[in-house]
């Protein structure tokens, strides 16, 4: 199947879209499915079939963002659109009745939509709410695989790398390494065999961006990987996906089969010289496998332990071959960049952080959900304008970014623009995009202990600073939260923080102390209250004897 056939599908599907009077998209991401979206979708589909409505299409779509108010349903008519929240099967009858007339019912309509979406700029999530996650034809109709076609038929591999460099895209897994630089290193590496790996081992607790992208728009990731394969000269790709995401795995499997059927993956893609295949590898629950050398070890069927770098995977990666590893969101940005040009992407965002970033908002925030914003928006805009602020009349205490490798940001930094450098400057990191809001009921020492427990459990045990250091630090933090610590313990905690950061083998250990360091920096008084006054200001920790 060649370019003409894909064009034919696009034309046919676009014509079918234009002929629709009404499109009802039910969010079928994991969050909404857990709150009953499947039954809602079924009820609506049955209703439409029963009423024999022409020109009304019911689709299951990717994450619509307002996860706390699920199941969500988006309805589009030629002139208008509306979002319905907390949908139940009984909404179906109402929607079907209105679909017949081509109108939108007022009942059950979500009122937060305007303020939630106003400041957002959706590139990675552009297809959520538009396409059926399980139909490749929908993806093609929405312009999908056009970028791949452009790359392999109109551009040289060098041109593609240049566009990525020009876009200023940086790794969205959290490290922020310039993507273009990584691509050109792998492209220049010697060797007939190279690999492309998509890191979908989204391990940070409180982060669900990659899951949403994989569930809602899997072809976007596959297309990005195929373009990468062309750019760096690889013929085989792997998606290493978390075993905890069964729905994402199922959707990826379906998508790979569909792409193979249309020869969008396989041999001679778009009649070019590009051969590219993608296989899935399922993780087995080890946080450290998000680290690239550990992930490679896991794909090779071994314990997921990291090794020292250099050599970097770009030189010696999977089976010692040059390997390009990027995160899901990074790959999801590739097709739009290739299609619209690096300069277009570079015009979004701040000087050093280009483009948009997807964040998962969670914790003590009114609108838990998934957002995509241009880099450089302030935390205040994200939490209060988009996220709707802190519920239950509580006050903001801290925002946690970067998971167990990140830090807590206090209220006086709310006006900080969110980009890689600013967050690093105050002792946190951009991370993969989990943003957890904490109100005055959270104890910062307890939060630090929570993350240290996480790192202690997930330490692979290969290097001693991490293996023993996380145990000792967790012990000290527990001592503080139980009111048994003195100031010597605090000094020891600080010394160990430095030791772990400087001497650990991989990112897990090197960043494990970050939550402790950042809470000590911004909330030192809380530590002192526990140590000196034997009191937990937030009332979370049970002090020895006091409870």
């Amino acid at each position: 199947m060649g370019a003409e056939d894909i064009d034919a599908i696009r034309e046919r599907e676009t014509a079918a879209w234009d002929a629709q009077r009404c499109r009802i998209a039910v969010c079928t991401a994991a969050g909404c499915l857990s709150s009953g979206a499947a039954a809602v979708r079924q009820a609506i589909a049955d209703g439409v079939t029963h009423a024999a409505l022409d020109g009304v299409r019911v689709v299951g779509t990717g994450c619509l963002g307002l996860c706390h108010a699920g199941p969500l349903v988006r309805v589009d008519t030629p002139d208008d659109r509306a979002l319905y929240d907390r949908a139940t099967p009984s909404l179906a009858a109402i929607l079907v009745a209105h679909a017949r007339a081509g109108t939108l019912p007022a009942e059950g309509r979500n009122t937060d939509e305007a303020s939630f979406f106003a400041a957002q700029d959706r590139i990675v999530l552009a297809n959520a709410g538009r396409i059926d996650s399980e139909r490749v034809e929908d993806y093609i109709a929405a312009g999908g695989y056009r970028a791949l076609q452009k790359a392999v038929t109109e551009m040289t591999a060098h041109d593609v790398v240049d566009e990525i460099v020009a876009s200023g895209l940086r790794g969205r897994g959290g490290g922020g390494y310039p993507t273009g630089l990584k691509w050109s290193t792998v492209a220049k590496a010697d060797g007939p065999t190279k690999y492309v790996i998509c890191n979908a081992d989204e391990g940070d607790p409180g982060a669900f961006m990659d899951r949403s992208v994989l569930e809602g728009d899997p072809h976007r990731v596959l297309e990005g990987m195929a373009i990468a394969g062309y750019a760096v000269g690889a013929e085989q790709g792997f998606v290493y996906v978390r075993g905890e995401y069964p729905l994402a795995i199922a959707r990826l499997k379906t998508a790979i089969k569909q792409a193979e059927r249309l020869q969008l993956l396989g041999n001679r893609i778009f009649d070019s010289a590009l051969n590219f295949r993608i296989d899935l590898r399922i993780g087995a629950g080890a946080f450290v496998c998000g680290e690239e050398t550990a992930l490679i070890a896991s794909i090779e069927g071994r314990r997921g332990t990291p090794r020292p770098r250099p050599p970097f995977p770009a030189a010696r990666g999977l089976w010692n071959r040059p390997t390009l590893i990027n995160n899901v969101e990074t790959f999801a940005n590739v097709a739009p960049i290739v299609e619209r040009g690096g300069a277009w992407y570079a015009a979004i965002g701040t000087e050093k952080s280009k483009g948009t970033k997807v964040f998962a908002l969670a914790g003590a925030i009114a609108r838990t959900g998934l957002i995509e914003v241009p880099m450089g928006l302030t935390l205040r805009e994200i939490i209060f304008d988009i996220g709707g602020g802190i519920p239950d009349g509580r006050s903001f205490k801290a925002a946690q970014t970067g998971g167990p490798s990140g830090g807590c940001i206090p209220a006086d930094h709310l006006d900080l623009p969110v980009d890689y450098e600013s967050l690093a400057g105050i002792g946190s990191i951009m991370g993969s995009g989990g943003l957890i809001v904490m109100d005055d009921r959270s104890c910062m020492v307890d939060v630090a202990r929570f993350f240290m427990e996480f790192c202690r459990d997930e330490s692979c045990g290969k290097c001693i600073p991490c293996r023993a250091g996380t145990v000792q630090m967790h012990g000290l933090l527990t001592k503080i939260t139980e009111g048994r610590a003195d100031e010597r313990d605090l000094r020891l905690l600080e010394q160990l923080s430095e030791l772990l950061t400087r001497t650990s083998l991989c990112g897990l250990g090197q960043t494990a102390a970050n939550p402790v360091k950042s809470t000590l920096r911004h909330f030192r008084d809380e530590y002192l209250a526990h140590i000196v006054d034997k009191r937990c200001p937030a009332g979370v920790c049970r002090m020895g004897g006091a409870s």
Partner: protein, 170 residues
Amino acid sequence: MPTAIPAAAPAHPSGDKRFKILDATMKRHRHSPDALLEVLHAAQELFGFLDLDCLIYVARSLKVPPSRVYGVATFYNFFSLKPKGEHTCVVCMGTACYVKGTAAILAAVERQYCIKAGETTPNGALSLVTARCLGACGLAPAVVFDEEVAGGLSVALTIARLARWTDHGR
């Protein structure tokens, strides 16, 4: 991709048909040691857990040292070397769930059934597990009852929900 010489593995002496399915999986991966994780995934799906006999069988078939198979099986949280209970309750301990109080839910379940996270009740009715993060933070605090994810839970709701399973057999 490196390939290994297909091994003519001897069939498992028990004659258990599930080993034949496992054999087919290994054959599909050309008995490559690189496929160890995929093979263990398949084995756990077939048997529910990985016992020593199964691990040794995999080691022989893939021609890798048993120590490596054991090392991999114990490294990853997903693999279980003990049988699971009839029902499984997974309490999410992700950050979002934690700040919304799953620690209290976990403690209450542990007290109620006198087991710790990672254990199964002596009668085999209930396994209690914790998850790093289900990625369903919009539902926090979230608990998975067998395959079903439930959100917005409290201690009382969780205990009541579990009682439906455990009181039934009494």
